[in-house]
């Protein structure tokens, strides 16, 4: 049995908001704003627009919350709103720059961590450089957001086999890069 003071999960919070306790929505914002902001940065490439985008996405999510049935994870549902909001904002230019392209990783004291940072960055850049821009988000969603293939399909609408092949290639590149590093 979970302790009584344990944090409610996303679905519990959604149910509370749907029941009228709208203030609980701030906890959902706190949990997911970094991810939505990251997606915004990938699409809009500057922090101001990404912040505006994040606000827009959460307002849309709040207004649509009554339609959330809990059949998917809240994060998947939210990312789908974010993805569609970005695509609609950019109209036909479904461009997305991988977060690895502009990532500002700190200098780590731990050399192993430093090497890991350099290797992962090289691997992701290599994986996305030959991909059409609209598919780059698949690699980011898998690597940086920890989203599964079926959920990436739900979010982006790309066929799952297309997603699998892009992520498979990205994982193969990561494996080779790590081997070289080693």
């Amino acid at each position: 049995m979970s302790p009584p003071d344990s944090d409610p999960d996303d679905v519990d919070l959604v149910r509370m908001v749907q029941g009228g306790d709208t203030e609980q929505f701030s906890l959902l914002i706190g949990r997911h704003q970094r991810s939505v902001f990251g997606l915004g940065l990938g699409f809009f490439k500057n922090r101001e627009d990404a912040a505006d985008f994040t606000q827009d996405v959460f307002l849309k999510a709040f207004r649509s919350l009554s339609s959330f049935q809990g059949r998917s994870k809240f994060s998947t549902w939210l990312y789908r709103i974010a993805y569609n909001t970005a695509i609609n904002a950019l109209k036909r230019r479904k461009e997305y720059a991988s977060l690895a392209e502009d990532a500002e990783l700190p200098d780590y004291d731990d050399p192993e961590r430093q090497a890991l940072g350099e290797a992962t960055r090289a691997a992701v850049l290599s994986a996305v450089k030959d991909l059409p821009e609209r598919f780059r988000i698949c690699v980011d969603l898998y690597y940086f957001f920890g989203v599964s293939y079926p959920d990436i399909e739900t979010i982006t609408g790309f066929p799952v086999n297309t997603i699998k092949s892009h992520v498979f290639r990205a994982k193969s590149i990561l494996r080779e890069t790590l081997k070289d590093e080693n």
Partner: protein
């Protein structure tokens, strides 16, 4: 299972941490594949913890917008509850002619009561439909793509 096939299977696995039994067996007795798998896991964990940029704290700003928004109300009744009520209404209309009360009314008044009865049932159905649509306007806009900025349709 050999090392090449085990690593291919690891790369092909859909979900992290859910490896096929044969792969897990292979890892339990192959130090080099285990080391390689551990390196990949470490790299992926690193990416998930380090690459997402820090976001400014927008919670209060968004909550203020929500509190002052005229559309801050949320339909308190779920789709399932609406569907149950709709099914009950339709079932009641469908089985009403089979009941003894209906037979008695028909015997007493002939078929003259059918018109007012249908008017009443029609009003009940219209009221139910209007209430349902009125409390789910946002969902209808999204479902039938009435708004080009609809956020839940597939791109």
């Amino acid at each position: 299972m050999d090392c090449a096939r085990a690593m291919l299977s690891i790369i092909e696995s859909k979900e992290d941490g859910h490896l096929p039994l044969l792969v897990r067996l292979h890892l339990s007795r192959c130090a080099s594949c285990t080391a390689e798998y551990t390196r990949m896991r470490k790299a992926i964990d690193f990416m998930r913890s380090e690459y997402l940029p820090r976001s400014p704290d927008l919670a209060e700003l968004i909550m203020t917008a929500i509190r002052t928004s005229p559309k801050a109300e949320i339909a308190p009744v779920s789709f399932r509850d609406w569907a149950i009520v709709g099914i009950v209404i339709l079932a009641a209309i469908a089985i009403a002619p089979l009941g003894s009360a209906f037979s008695w009314v028909k015997k007493s008044f002939g078929s003259d009561f059918l018109l007012p009865l249908n008017v009443v049932l029609g009003l009940i159905l219209s009221a139910y439909g209007a209430l349902f649509i009125g409390t789910h306007l946002n969902e209808f806009v999204i479902r039938f793509k009435l708004d080009e900025n609809s956020e839940l349709e597939q791109p």
